[in-house]
Assembly symmetry: C2
Homo-oligomer: 335 residues x 2
Amino acid sequence: MRPTHRTFGASAVVFLFLALVAGRSAQAQHDALPSWSEGASKQAIMDFVGRVTKEGGPDFVRPEERIAVFDNDGTLWAEQPLYFQFLFAIDRVKALAPQHPEWKDKEPFASLLKGDLKSALGQGEHAIVEILAATHSGMSTDEFNGIVEDWFANARHPTTGKPYTDMVYQPMLELLAYLRANGFKTFIVSGGGIEFMRTFAEERYGVPPEQVVGSSGELKFQFRDGAPLLEKLPKVDFVDDGDGKPVGIQMHIGRRPIAAFGNSDGDLAMLQWTCAGPRTHFCLYVHHTDAEREWAYDRKSDIGKLDKGLDAAADGGWTVVDMKNDWKVIYPAEK
Amino acid sequence: MRPTHRTFGASAVVFLFLALVAGRSAQAQHDALPSWSEGASKQAIMDFVGRVTKEGGPDFVRPEERIAVFDNDGTLWAEQPLYFQFLFAIDRVKALAPQHPEWKDKEPFASLLKGDLKSALGQGEHAIVEILAATHSGMSTDEFNGIVEDWFANARHPTTGKPYTDMVYQPMLELLAYLRANGFKTFIVSGGGIEFMRTFAEERYGVPPEQVVGSSGELKFQFRDGAPLLEKLPKVDFVDDGDGKPVGIQMHIGRRPIAAFGNSDGDLAMLQWTCAGPRTHFCLYVHHTDAEREWAYDRKSDIGKLDKGLDAAADGGWTVVDMKNDWKVIYPAEK
């Protein structure tokens, strides 16, 4: 090796090394949560992450136990005027109506097709189950995924006009990434359909299918033309809401989370389970307080009711995000 | 900076750099499967891994889609003379008998307590369900974990005298590690109880709780003395065997695996599902052919029957491991 080569090679390595060190230092000063206003909520998140990642500290938690669980509707994306999956179901009823002439005289489909949502949903839980069964079963899992993906590509939200997947919350995207950068494994634990959420969770949230926990219908393994498939049956298997959330967590994750994020009473059991755990823990409610940029609702809302949860948050010293003041932007497009 | 310092610093960096390069090269030559004899089975595994990891190659599979699923009983550890979890249940019946004087006259417990296993199990599925309910419910998930961990610490296998967790298969431990080193995510998908397996899967197999799929009983979220817990109910929730395996995979993982490993007809649907997938795939059966070092059984066995599976493997060109000839050692202690 000629000396000039050696000198050049060594200098290049030194340069790369210094660049690496400089890069790390810049990263440490970088604001991982730029869409969060400076204030108590942001500070509480950063304090918690600082404590559980401080090796040798009293609150340190091993990386494999850094499990964070997130509700989806109202926590990671919007849920007004109706859960988006239900808007999908209504669109599907309309699309399938020509194949079901009997729906013209059969409730709850008749009201739905007339555009009378209130009457359709006012018929109680059995009506909702019937609408979900008609639109979420009778096909393979692969076929269902294709239908959902088509819908997301073309459907627009009734009041914002945005594609639904553009109505995820920018501050929560930053929070998901920040937790992962600090060794957390992030899971969705939502009342939404597990297959429905998986179609966009990896791309939008960076959460892979195996880290999505949700409600589900029964599946049946069978063969069609010699090829195996999983048929979606018109029967509810598991409802991942309320007391079902800690159960879903145990079934799918098998460890108690150390951080839980929700926005409604349906998340209360998940937050209670998380914040009664033996390790350092953190519970946060997103409080919808921004009628201008998003929606404002809590104790009296039909969708995303937050009543007992607000009381429990006050009792437990949990963090409550004031959307209006704590979030500089709501949706990614505003960034 | 003084020239001597600079020269020293650069040399040290160059040295580290070269050491790194040398280390990588040594790693490439290292045999990741030392307990596997050279032969068709080992070659097939290595060819498959080479193909799916070759970027730009026709068989390349993105790391996030490299999902590998493993049956547990008879595939990752032994299962004779009876599934180990059932031996646990029998030990629990004996331990709980003083609190259940009525069991002396009540089947299947009476036969079990007299040591007449054959009569106890010969009473059919309801007897097995009753034994499992009596030993796997009526406590919290945390309490159950403690009971299982105690049992593993003290119980010994009836013929080998080994702790049960020493009866994992060394060649399969190497295979799990080899796949993970090549970007695979490894899951257990077994008929065994999900909570039972989780107590040792992370330590023995390097498979964390959230990557264990198994059979389960129903859970109920409730409070005891003000603290939340998950109560194990005496009701079967899901049987992760046979056609249940692809269903369990879809529920927990949400992606079709590209590699599946089993040893019995109970794994057939899982292998069919995996090897009918659109991406490069690999299916393997462990064939128990070693009566001396382990057990020899297949088409006529009550435990781990491998009959239809052997035919399907021949039809599909799947890899069939001949335990006697393909594995240099069976258990880790023999290494």
